[in-house]
Amino acid sequence: MMPLVLKAYTATSCLGRGIAPMTVALRNGTGGLTKCEFESIDLETYVGEIQGVDAEQLPAAYQSFNCRNNRLAQLAIKQDDFEQTVKASISRFGPRFGLILGTSTSGILETELAYRSCSPVTGLLPEKFNYQGSHSPFSVAAFLRTWLTIRGPVSVISTACSSGAKVFASAQRMIEAGVIDAALVGGVDSLCLTTLYGFHSLQLLAPRPCRPFATNREGISIGEGAAFALLERPDAGTRSDNIALLGVGESNDAYHISSPHPDGLGARLSIEAALKTAAIDPWEIDYINLHGTATITNDQSESRAVAAVFGRSTPCSSTKGATGHALGAAGAIEAVICAIALKDGFIPGGINTNPVDPALEVQYLRATQFTKPSRILSNSFGFGGTNCSLVFGRLA
């Protein structure tokens, strides 16, 4: 497939705002999970909450989009001079610039809160509640499209926890098909009651910070975050040391709506498809950023898929012990983590895990290694049996 250049990228998570604090945390093996004190939630769990999201103000003309998810999107896009770089690319490409974002729950928190304030007489929701600007899963793209004046194709992919990865695949196809030349892609998801009480109902919420691939793993820690990348078609002026998207793979489990295939068959198909589109062999991958949610079944299923393709020879880790699982944003956050690792020349270890479950037959890395990876695979899987794997590296 045609590789794409990551001209710019940024991520905001509980590790901090922008690339710098994320890089420091990944290098030092520190995390950002804290005891859940979000809204009125009364669950014993840890979350990756981002401080200061509610202090972020949308411009006056965009108040109809005001919700935690869109405030987070704006806060994140302002980091690392990303907004300026994207605006320059938008002016350069005009209608041949696209916007494809991923989210799982969008601004549903606004609806959850509005349902508490229905009129006791009419049963109607409060007048100020705006569905289109908050709850609608398209809301974050509608906001950024207008704010950044994007005139080309726009959509939101909402495939649960693979959303933030699948946006890269969609943009790659549109650029390869010649519909556009550049795209802003990313994932934005924010804390809400649906996911916290939902994962609690499935008994998948860890009471302590999550421990991916550990013997004593006990479920996920929900995070929130926003990560973006500016993708462009390589041209004559593109430097060969640019970080690039080299491969994409997608598949479905066709097994169960909320449990992964026990042998990771769907995951294996998406990994193999990503390697095939990148035209590389498994040994050419130097590090795998796992989906690694820390549930019993995900980690078992994923380890079998990884072991079937790579054996024990490729180092892998989950960075969700540091960031939490930011659901629809996770794939985009982890794509940025791959870019950081490639650029800075290190392989992030997965924190909180001690000991690694010996039943998971992969080379799980607990401490960061300062060796330069050339190519990285990132896995993102989700409810509905949706799987997406991405390969990042350099153009040359």
Binding site: S155, S158, S170, R173, A177, F383, T386
Partner: protein, 263 residues
């Protein structure tokens, strides 16, 4: 740059219209339109436990996909799919928000049915399809955004792609804030090259012509009553074999111009 695909199969399900044959006769003027409820058969292709739990969005999406792929003589197990819906399963969303506003004792089934790609997940279970599938949305532009993604995939994969666009209304109180009037959907089986099943050749690109409205006000109510209905003017041209261009709702003054031709 425009995208080209061939339509090899169509499905339409909506109020009083159970399949494409019924729709074709109504859209072409052969039969009168008698509005009624949207009939959604139980998806027998699902295992019994999944079938019991399937809500309207799942039943609608599976029925649409099955009809369009059968017309195109495609094995659904092997076909790439693009699902598009503005808001997914409205009833399930309302039930979750009510629970969260009261005792917060959410049922696991309610929760895992809350993700936007639930119909795509059930489709893959029903058909055994492990190939790539995407689920997207674009509010009122959801049909055109889905068509653009599906035609892009036809171009890059050179394989058949099934577009399944569907919507279901929210119950009160959300329906007041997001009025979707119909349980309605459209599916198109698309391919890169013409074949024996091809009905029409379509070419799509973004433009600035105003959105087409249908001269028949009852049919135009189907078009505007659910975002998935955004493809109705295209389907009316197919039914009438009336070749020409349609302009589908996209964003602001931008529309998706689709020229529909014989093949």
């Amino acid at each position: 740059m425009s995208l080209i695909s061939y339509i090899n199969g169509v499905s339409f399900i909506g109020p009083g219209i159970r399949d494409w044959r019924t729709a074709e006769h109504i859209f072409s003027g052969l039969n009168p339109y008698i509005p009624g409820a949207t009939e959604l058969p139980a998806p027998m292709s699902l295992p019994a436990p999944e079938r019991r739990r399937a809500g309207r969005a799942i039943k609608l999406a599976i029925s649409l996909g099955m009809e369009a792929s059968a017309q195109a003589a495609l094995d659904p197990k092997t076909v790439l799919t693009v699902f598009s819906s503005s808001g997914g399963d409205g009833e399930n969303c309302d039930a979750i928000c009510r629970t969260l506003a009261s005792d917060r004792q959410l049922s696991p089934t309610r929760f895992h049915h809350s993700v936007h790609n639930v119909p795509a997940g059930y489709w893959s279970i029903a058909t055994g399809a492990m190939v790539a599938s995407s689920t997207l949305c674009a509010h009122d532009a959801s049909f055109a955004a889905g068509l653009l993604e599906a035609m892009t995939q036809v171009t890059t994969s050179a394989a058949p792609v099934l577009l399944i666009a569907y919507d279901t209304p929210y119950p009160p109180p959300l329906n007041d804030k997001r009025p979707i009037r119909h349980v309605l959907g459209i599916a198109l089986a698309l391919d890169k090259l013409p074949g024996p099943r091809s009905i029409a050749k379509i070419t799509a690109q973004l433009g600035d012509s105003p959105v087409d409205r249908l001269d028949n006000s009852i049919l135009d109510d189907l078009r505007s009553g659910a975002p998935a209905g955004g493809g109705l003017s295209l389907l009316v041209r197919l039914a009438r074999r009336h070749w020409g261009s349609v302009h589908l709702e996209y964003f602001d003054k931008t529309t998706l111009t689709v020229s529909v031709n014989s093949c």
